[in-house]
């Protein structure tokens, strides 16, 4: 099956949707073909995936100690 070529610019525009598996099958096939032949876009894809993974796994916004008690205190005091 031959797919219609897609430009790097178009690939970058959709790369985040691609990572989220939120592109139509036809576009997906064109992008997959592009990634096989374009090392630059493949690098951007890998990097974008790494960002998503890292942000999900690596970033903690711990609640400050005593947050819950202080919040409950505020609710009860007014």
């Amino acid at each position: 099956m031959s797919v219609i070529e897609i430009s790097c610019l178009e690939v970058w525009r959709e790369i985040s949707n691609y990572v989220d598996q939120d592109v139509a099958p036809e576009l997906r096939a064109r992008m997959e073909a592009h990634f096989k032949s374009c090392a630059h876009c493949k690098a951007v894809l890998d990097g974008t995936r790494n960002v998503v993974k890292l942000v999900a796994d690596g970033v903690e916004y711990e609640l400050p100690a005593g947050f819950s008690q202080r919040l409950y205190g505020k609710i009860k005091e007014k």
């Binding site: 610019l9 970058w12 525009r13 790369i15 985040s16 949707n17 990572v19 939120d22 090392a39 630059h40 493949k42 690098a43 951007v44 890998d46 990097g47 974008t48 790494n50 960002v51 998503v52 993974k53 890292l54 942000v55 999900a56 796994d57 690596g58 970033v59 903690e60 916004y61 609640l63 400050p64 005593g66 947050f67 819950s68 008690q69 202080r70 919040l71 409950y72 205190g73 505020k74 609710i75 009860k76 005091e77 007014k78």
Partner: protein
């Protein structure tokens, strides 16, 4: 610190029942609604005000505001979505009050969402080095990269990729279209990649032969 005692527990009660009781002034019932959302509202607040102390105050103010306006909560809505929405509004209000000009200049750029974005370079970044993550270097770099994003990208990145909210819910909370959520998320992720991938340069993958190939300069 137990001046007000421990919260009464209402673990068996449904959301509508808790809302009903809270509307009648039962503050423990209200806290039972808020408790599962504590982290979500704190993170939503920090995504905008960008520091822990302000985020806590914003979360507290938002919760008090929610209590006051609980009668306006639609029974069919999700309480967490509603509360996060109030928190985001409260955080924006705070930021505008504190740093009016700075925030506006960051939040409303002349270019809008439409301009094309190109990756800054094509550094190869196939693997995430787990040692670097463990050592905390990468964690700090990540936090810095998130903090340096424009607020409207940071909000979306945090709601989608940290809180794991859907595009639909994120759009509802921020009051923007789903298309806008996707565009901002794209920008946020690519800017994060720009910020982080070159940092890998020296330490992470420059030893690989294929690295030079994709990055000829």
């Amino acid at each position: 610190m137990r001046r007000m005692g421990a919260p009464a527990t209402y673990s068996g009660l449904s959301q509508p029942e808790l809302v009903r009781r809270a509307c009648e002034g039962d503050r423990d019932a209200f806290y039972s609604l808020v408790r599962p959302c504590e982290r979500a509202i704190y993170v939503a607040a920090i995504s905008i005000v960008n520091n822990a102390a302000d985020a806590e105050e914003v979360a507290q103010e938002a919760v008090l505001k929610a209590f006051k306006h609980l009668a306006g909560f639609r029974a069919e809505a999700k309480f967490s979505t509603w509360l996060i929405q109030i928190t985001i509004n409260e955080a924006r209000l705070r930021l505008r009050k504190d740093r009016r000009h700075l925030y506006e200049s960051l939040d409303e750029p002349q270019t809008g969402e439409e301009g094309e974005y190109s990756p800054r370079d094509f550094a190869d970044w196939r693997e995430i080095p787990s040692e670097a993550l463990k050592r905390g270097e990468l964690r700090n770099a990540l936090k810095q990269a998130i903090a340096s994003l424009p607020p409207r990208y940071r909000e979306v990145l945090i709601l989608r990729d940290i809180q794991n909210l859907s595009t639909e819910e994120t759009a509802e909370i921020l009051g923007i279209s789903q298309g806008n959520v996707k565009t901002r998320l794209l920008r946020a992720r690519l800017q994060m990649r720009d910020a982080l991938a070159p940092g890998i340069d020296g330490n992470w993958s420059s030893g690989k032969p294929e690295y030079k190939k994709v990055r000829p300069w």
